[in-house]
Protein backbone atom coordinates (compact mmCIF):
# COMPACT_ATOMS: atom_id res chain seq x y z
CA UNK A 1 0.00 0.00 0.00
CA UNK A 2 0.96 3.63 -0.35
CA UNK A 3 0.82 6.60 2.00
CA UNK A 4 -2.68 8.05 1.68
CA UNK A 5 -1.27 11.55 2.11
CA UNK A 6 1.76 11.70 -0.22
CA UNK A 7 1.77 8.41 -2.16
CA UNK A 8 5.05 7.02 -0.87
CA UNK A 9 5.08 3.20 -0.86
CA UNK A 10 4.66 1.72 2.64
CA UNK A 11 6.71 -1.45 2.66
CA UNK A 12 8.31 -1.82 6.06
CA UNK A 13 6.89 -0.95 9.49
CA UNK A 14 9.41 1.94 9.69
CA UNK A 15 7.82 3.52 6.60
CA UNK A 16 4.59 4.01 8.58
CA UNK A 17 4.00 6.92 10.93
CA UNK A 18 5.72 6.14 14.25
CA UNK A 19 6.33 2.58 13.00
CA UNK A 20 2.66 1.73 13.47
CA UNK A 21 1.46 -0.44 10.57
CA UNK A 22 -2.19 0.40 11.28
CA UNK A 23 -1.43 4.00 10.26
CA UNK A 24 -2.14 4.57 6.57
CA UNK A 25 0.29 7.42 6.16
CA UNK A 26 4.08 7.64 6.18
CA UNK A 27 6.59 8.94 8.69
CA UNK A 28 7.20 12.08 6.58
CA UNK A 29 3.51 13.01 6.72
CA UNK A 30 3.23 12.59 10.49
CA UNK A 31 4.30 14.50 13.57
CA UNK A 32 6.71 12.68 15.91
CA UNK A 33 3.70 11.56 18.00
CA UNK A 34 2.22 9.80 14.93
CA UNK A 35 -0.54 12.36 14.23
CA UNK A 36 -1.15 13.17 10.56
CA UNK A 37 0.15 16.65 9.73
CA UNK A 38 -2.26 19.29 8.45
CA UNK A 39 -2.82 19.82 4.73
CA UNK A 40 -0.75 23.01 4.80
CA UNK A 41 2.10 21.32 6.64
CA UNK A 42 2.26 18.40 4.19
CA UNK A 43 2.02 20.82 1.23
CA UNK A 44 4.86 22.94 2.60
CA UNK A 45 6.96 19.84 3.28
CA UNK A 46 6.43 18.39 -0.18
CA UNK A 47 7.12 21.75 -1.87
CA UNK A 48 10.37 22.11 0.07
CA UNK A 49 11.34 18.53 -0.79
CA UNK A 50 10.87 19.16 -4.54
CA UNK A 51 13.03 22.28 -4.36
CA UNK A 52 15.71 20.73 -2.18
CA UNK A 53 16.13 17.47 -4.10
CA UNK A 54 15.28 18.43 -7.71
CA UNK A 55 15.91 22.16 -7.77
CA UNK A 56 12.41 22.98 -9.05
CA UNK A 57 11.31 26.59 -9.31
CA UNK A 58 9.29 27.49 -6.16
CA UNK A 59 6.05 28.07 -8.10
CA UNK A 60 6.43 24.84 -10.09
CA UNK A 61 7.25 22.93 -6.90
CA UNK A 62 4.13 24.23 -5.17
CA UNK A 63 1.86 23.51 -8.16
CA UNK A 64 3.30 20.00 -8.47
CA UNK A 65 2.80 19.28 -4.78
CA UNK A 66 -0.77 20.62 -4.95
CA UNK A 67 -1.53 18.39 -7.97
CA UNK A 68 -0.02 15.35 -6.28
CA UNK A 69 -1.98 15.86 -3.07
CA UNK A 70 -5.22 16.43 -5.00
CA UNK A 71 -5.09 12.75 -5.99
CA UNK A 72 -4.45 11.45 -2.47
CA UNK A 73 -7.24 9.82 -0.43
CA UNK A 74 -6.25 11.65 2.76
CA UNK A 75 -7.00 15.01 1.14
CA UNK A 76 -9.91 14.05 -1.12
CA UNK A 77 -12.30 16.13 0.97
CA UNK A 78 -10.58 19.27 -0.28
CA UNK A 79 -11.44 20.98 -3.56
Amino acid sequence: MNCTSCGMPLRTPEDHASGDVTKEYCRHCAHPDGQLKSYDEVLAGMTAFLQRTQGLDPGVARRTATATMAKMPAWSGRA
Binding site: P9, R11, T12, F49, R52, T53, T64, T68
Partner: protein
Protein backbone atom coordinates in the same frame (compact mmCIF):
# COMPACT_ATOMS: atom_id res chain seq x y z
CA UNK B 1 -11.79 -14.63 -2.74
CA UNK B 2 -12.95 -18.05 -3.98
CA UNK B 3 -16.46 -16.91 -4.83
CA UNK B 4 -17.37 -17.72 -8.39
CA UNK B 5 -20.50 -15.63 -8.61
CA UNK B 6 -21.22 -14.19 -12.06
CA UNK B 7 -20.49 -10.71 -10.66
CA UNK B 8 -17.02 -11.60 -9.41
CA UNK B 9 -16.26 -13.43 -12.66
CA UNK B 10 -17.33 -10.40 -14.64
CA UNK B 11 -15.20 -8.14 -12.44
CA UNK B 12 -12.19 -10.42 -12.87
CA UNK B 13 -12.72 -10.48 -16.62
CA UNK B 14 -12.99 -6.72 -16.73
CA UNK B 15 -9.75 -6.31 -14.77
CA UNK B 16 -8.04 -8.77 -17.09
CA UNK B 17 -9.17 -6.86 -20.18
CA UNK B 18 -7.93 -3.60 -18.70
CA UNK B 19 -4.59 -5.18 -17.89
CA UNK B 20 -4.28 -6.52 -21.44
CA UNK B 21 -5.11 -3.15 -23.03
CA UNK B 22 -2.55 -1.43 -20.83
CA UNK B 23 0.12 -4.03 -21.57
CA UNK B 24 -0.30 -3.67 -25.33
CA UNK B 25 -0.44 0.11 -25.08
CA UNK B 26 2.91 0.00 -23.29
CA UNK B 27 4.44 -2.22 -25.94
CA UNK B 28 3.26 0.06 -28.74
CA UNK B 29 4.42 3.21 -26.92
CA UNK B 30 7.84 1.63 -26.40
CA UNK B 31 8.07 0.88 -30.11
CA UNK B 32 6.76 4.06 -31.71
CA UNK B 33 6.29 6.63 -28.97
CA UNK B 34 3.34 8.15 -27.15
CA UNK B 35 2.31 10.69 -29.78
CA UNK B 36 2.06 8.10 -32.55
CA UNK B 37 0.30 5.36 -30.60
CA UNK B 38 -3.36 5.25 -31.68
CA UNK B 39 -6.14 3.67 -29.64
CA UNK B 40 -7.32 1.74 -32.70
CA UNK B 41 -3.92 0.03 -32.90
CA UNK B 42 -3.94 -0.72 -29.18
CA UNK B 43 -7.38 -2.31 -29.56
CA UNK B 44 -6.19 -4.43 -32.47
CA UNK B 45 -3.06 -5.58 -30.61
CA UNK B 46 -5.04 -6.42 -27.47
CA UNK B 47 -7.75 -8.11 -29.59
CA UNK B 48 -10.61 -6.06 -28.18
CA UNK B 49 -13.07 -3.75 -29.90
CA UNK B 50 -12.07 -0.11 -30.25
CA UNK B 51 -14.99 0.87 -28.01
CA UNK B 52 -13.78 -1.46 -25.28
CA UNK B 53 -10.62 0.63 -24.88
CA UNK B 54 -12.79 3.58 -23.90
CA UNK B 55 -14.78 1.53 -21.41
CA UNK B 56 -11.55 1.19 -19.42
CA UNK B 57 -9.87 4.49 -20.28
CA UNK B 58 -12.08 7.54 -20.90
CA UNK B 59 -9.73 9.04 -23.47
CA UNK B 60 -6.50 8.41 -25.37
CA UNK B 61 -4.77 10.80 -22.98
CA UNK B 62 -6.02 8.81 -20.00
CA UNK B 63 -4.64 5.61 -21.52
CA UNK B 64 -1.27 7.25 -22.20
CA UNK B 65 -1.17 8.69 -18.68
CA UNK B 66 -1.90 5.18 -17.36
CA UNK B 67 1.06 3.87 -19.36
CA UNK B 68 3.36 6.43 -17.74
CA UNK B 69 1.74 5.82 -14.35
CA UNK B 70 2.39 2.09 -14.63
CA UNK B 71 6.02 2.70 -15.51
CA UNK B 72 6.26 5.15 -12.61
CA UNK B 73 4.86 2.59 -10.19
CA UNK B 74 7.32 -0.08 -11.30
CA UNK B 75 10.32 2.22 -10.92
CA UNK B 76 9.10 3.50 -7.55
CA UNK B 77 8.49 0.00 -6.25
CA UNK B 78 11.83 -1.31 -7.47
CA UNK B 79 13.73 1.53 -5.81
CA UNK B 80 11.72 1.25 -2.65
CA UNK B 81 12.42 -2.48 -2.51
CA UNK B 82 16.07 -1.55 -1.99
CA UNK B 83 14.41 -0.53 1.19
CA UNK B 84 17.14 -0.96 3.68
CA UNK B 85 17.62 2.44 5.22
CA UNK B 86 21.37 2.25 4.75
CA UNK B 87 22.02 1.40 1.08
CA UNK B 88 25.02 3.42 -0.10
CA UNK B 89 24.51 5.91 -2.94
CA UNK B 90 26.35 3.74 -5.45
CA UNK B 91 23.90 0.90 -4.85
CA UNK B 92 20.89 3.19 -5.25
CA UNK B 93 22.26 4.63 -8.51
CA UNK B 94 23.03 1.13 -9.82
CA UNK B 95 19.43 0.12 -9.09
CA UNK B 96 18.16 3.27 -10.77
CA UNK B 97 20.17 2.39 -13.89
CA UNK B 98 18.76 -1.15 -13.89
CA UNK B 99 15.20 0.17 -13.61
CA UNK B 100 15.71 2.57 -16.49
CA UNK B 101 17.60 0.06 -18.65
CA UNK B 102 14.67 -2.35 -18.40
CA UNK B 103 12.34 0.38 -19.73
CA UNK B 104 14.74 2.29 -21.91
CA UNK B 105 12.52 2.42 -25.01
CA UNK B 106 9.55 3.84 -23.10
CA UNK B 107 11.79 6.24 -21.20
CA UNK B 108 13.43 7.50 -24.38
CA UNK B 109 10.09 8.36 -25.98
CA UNK B 110 8.96 10.02 -22.79
CA UNK B 111 12.05 12.22 -22.72
CA UNK B 112 11.87 13.04 -26.41
CA UNK B 113 8.16 13.81 -26.44
CA UNK B 114 7.71 15.34 -22.99
CA UNK B 115 7.11 18.94 -24.16
CA UNK B 116 4.45 17.72 -26.62
CA UNK B 117 2.48 15.57 -24.21
CA UNK B 118 -0.73 16.68 -22.49
CA UNK B 119 -0.74 18.16 -18.99
CA UNK B 120 -1.55 14.99 -17.07
CA UNK B 121 1.80 13.50 -18.04
CA UNK B 122 3.77 16.13 -16.13
CA UNK B 123 2.40 15.04 -12.79
CA UNK B 124 3.07 11.35 -13.50
CA UNK B 125 6.60 12.14 -14.59
CA UNK B 126 7.43 14.36 -11.64
CA UNK B 127 6.04 11.52 -9.53
CA UNK B 128 8.67 9.15 -10.91
CA UNK B 129 11.43 11.71 -10.50
CA UNK B 130 10.36 12.48 -6.95
CA UNK B 131 10.63 8.84 -5.94
CA UNK B 132 14.06 8.62 -7.54
CA UNK B 133 15.15 11.93 -6.01
CA UNK B 134 13.94 10.80 -2.58
CA UNK B 135 16.09 7.67 -2.58
CA UNK B 136 19.11 9.39 -4.09
CA UNK B 137 18.88 12.28 -1.61
CA UNK B 138 18.65 9.98 1.40
CA UNK B 139 21.58 7.84 0.30
CA UNK B 140 23.65 10.89 -0.70
CA UNK B 141 23.03 12.56 2.66
CA UNK B 142 24.22 9.40 4.43
CA UNK B 143 27.33 9.16 2.25
CA UNK B 144 28.08 12.87 2.84
CA UNK B 145 27.67 12.46 6.59
CA UNK B 146 30.06 9.51 6.48
CA UNK B 147 32.58 11.52 4.45
CA UNK B 148 32.44 9.13 1.50
CA UNK B 149 31.29 11.78 -0.97
CA UNK B 150 31.82 15.53 -1.15
CA UNK B 151 29.29 18.05 0.17
CA UNK B 152 27.23 18.94 -2.90
CA UNK B 153 23.76 20.52 -2.93
CA UNK B 154 21.35 17.60 -3.34
CA UNK B 155 19.50 19.07 -6.32
CA UNK B 156 22.75 19.59 -8.24
CA UNK B 157 23.95 16.11 -7.43
CA UNK B 158 20.59 14.74 -8.63
CA UNK B 159 20.41 16.85 -11.77
CA UNK B 160 24.02 16.10 -12.72
CA UNK B 161 23.29 12.38 -12.52
CA UNK B 162 19.96 12.63 -14.36
CA UNK B 163 21.46 14.88 -17.03
CA UNK B 164 24.23 12.40 -17.71
CA UNK B 165 22.00 9.33 -17.82
CA UNK B 166 19.22 10.93 -19.85
CA UNK B 167 21.70 12.34 -22.36
CA UNK B 168 22.90 8.81 -23.13
CA UNK B 169 19.33 7.54 -23.43
CA UNK B 170 18.12 10.37 -25.68
CA UNK B 171 21.11 10.14 -28.00
CA UNK B 172 21.37 6.39 -27.81
CA UNK B 173 22.10 6.02 -31.51
CA UNK B 174 25.37 7.88 -31.02
CA UNK B 175 26.58 5.76 -28.12
CA UNK B 176 25.11 2.31 -28.66
CA UNK B 177 23.43 2.03 -32.06
CA UNK B 178 20.64 -0.52 -32.04
CA UNK B 179 21.35 -1.43 -28.43
CA UNK B 180 20.52 -0.29 -24.91
CA UNK B 181 22.59 2.76 -24.03
CA UNK B 182 22.41 2.00 -20.33
CA UNK B 183 23.17 -1.70 -20.60
CA UNK B 184 26.16 -0.76 -22.76
CA UNK B 185 27.48 2.28 -20.86
CA UNK B 186 25.71 2.25 -17.48
CA UNK B 187 28.64 0.84 -15.55
CA UNK B 188 31.02 3.38 -17.07
CA UNK B 189 28.66 6.27 -16.23
CA UNK B 190 28.26 5.04 -12.67
CA UNK B 191 32.02 4.72 -12.14
CA UNK B 192 32.58 8.16 -13.64
CA UNK B 193 29.89 9.85 -11.55
CA UNK B 194 31.05 8.26 -8.31
CA UNK B 195 34.60 9.34 -9.19
CA UNK B 196 33.43 12.94 -9.59
CA UNK B 197 31.67 13.14 -6.26
CA UNK B 198 33.80 10.90 -4.05
CA UNK B 199 36.18 12.33 -1.49
CA UNK B 200 39.78 11.54 -2.37
CA UNK B 201 40.98 8.29 -0.84
CA UNK B 202 44.23 8.37 1.18
CA UNK B 203 45.89 6.41 -1.62
CA UNK B 204 45.07 8.86 -4.41
CA UNK B 205 46.08 11.73 -2.14
CA UNK B 206 49.55 10.26 -1.54
CA UNK B 207 50.11 10.06 -5.30
CA UNK B 208 50.23 13.83 -5.54
Amino acid sequence: MSSHSPESQRAAQKAETRRRILEHARRLCARRGFARTRTVDVAKAARVSHGSVFVHFPSREALMAAVVGEMAREITDALHALGSQDAPLREVLAKHLDCLADREDELRWLLLEAPLLPKGFDAEWVGVQSAVAHHIAEAAARDMAAGRIREIPLHLLFNTWIGLVHHYVIHRELFAPGRSALKTHGRELLDHFMGLISTPTPKSRSKR
